[in-house]
């Protein structure tokens, strides 16, 4: 059982499991896989009285619709995985980033917050994120998703080059 619950899965197993979710979601729930649209539900949860037209569109009429449930499920999934593999309950680390920088913890807040702002605005403008575009969109052979995914990866690589150079100093 260590293979499934303690050790990290090989890439092909994770790939097959995530890939199967696309047809399964369509077959059982007639729904397209996607995560970033659900952040609108979280936003409406924080601002229930908002007058902004977009947050009162059909998608967000019920802020506790399937997208909200799906997002909560994802958090639970991460929790179960961490418990199964004996990860610490709470950690202030973030892999190589917190290893390579020795900032006071408070300095990580604006950095990761800024990253999130780019992700949130970018995903909405592009019409999807890594799930909706790169997995669902490419699996359904959409040109728009190919353009978005190539840009995600290309710009991600260029940005990482500069982070390594300037923040990690090589």
């Amino acid at each position: 059982m260590n293979f499934l619950f303690v050790d990290l899965w090989p890439w092909w197993l994770g790939g097959i499991a995530i890939g199967l979710l696309v047809p399964f979601l369509y077959y059982f729930l007639n729904t397209a896989l996607g995560v970033s649209t659900g952040y609108g539900n979280l936003l409406k949860f924080i601002l229930p009285e908002t007058k902004l037209a977009w947050l009162n569109s059909e998608t967000y009429k019920n802020k506790f619709n399937w997208r909200f449930i799906f997002i909560i499920g994802m958090i639970i999934g991460g929790f179960l995985s961490a418990r199964a593999s004996n990860m610490p309950f709470i950690t202030s680390e973030m892999g190589l980033f917190t290893e390579a920088t020795s900032w006071p913890f408070i300095a990580y807040i604006p950095w990761f917050f800024a990253g999130g702002v780019f992700l949130g605005l970018g995903a909405r403008l592009a019409g999807g994120c890594t799930s909706g575009h790169s997995i669902h969109g490419l699996a359904s052979l959409q040109i728009s998703s190919l353009v978005a995914t190539v840009l995600f990866l290309l710009v991600g690589a260029v940005t990482t080059f500069f982070i390594r150079l300037i923040v990690f100093r090589g």
Partner: protein, 138 residues
């Protein structure tokens, strides 16, 4: 109710799988972008091929869901915002070492920093809502 449970299970499955495959690890994303380790790229490629085969099977078997309703594939428009959004998203992916899905998974795993990323994504979504208010054709 059954449907809601289905969405919850699908979410748990997705979160668990992302976490168990290392996709929510900062290092996996960093090393993919530096070209030192392509495991995450291989995972994505496998997922895309598996998903495409699954969708093709659904199409050949009549394109109907479990209730006999026609399956409608969600279409993603291609325009200038796909490009602007793609660039912004790529910057955000590299800065935070997470995407909107894996940031949620990080919270579940107990990585406090994931909370800042998630809050940032909510605010980025808010900026989008403000932009659409000013310029409805976005």
């Amino acid at each position: 109710m059954v449907k809601k449970l289905g969405y919850l299970l699908a979410g748990v499955f997705f979160g668990f799988t992302l976490s168990r495959s290392g996709a929510s690890e900062y290092n996996y994303i960093y090393y993919m972008f530096t070209g030192e380790n392509f495991k995450l790229a291989f995972l994505m490629a496998t997922a895309i091929v598996t998903g495409a085969i699954g969708l093709a099977v659904l199409k050949w078997s009549g394109n109907k869901d479990i209730n006999g309703q026609e399956i409608k594939i969600s279409k993603k428009p291609l325009n200038q915002y796909t490009i602007v959004g793609g660039i912004l998203f790529g910057i955000g992916w590299a800065i935070s070492g997470a995407c909107p899905g894996t940031a949620l998974v990080q919270i579940g795993e107990g990585k406090i920093i994931g909370l800042f990323t998630v809050f940032g994504i909510v605010c980025g979504t808010y900026i989008y809502a403000l932009l659409v208010q000013k310029n409805p054709q976005i």
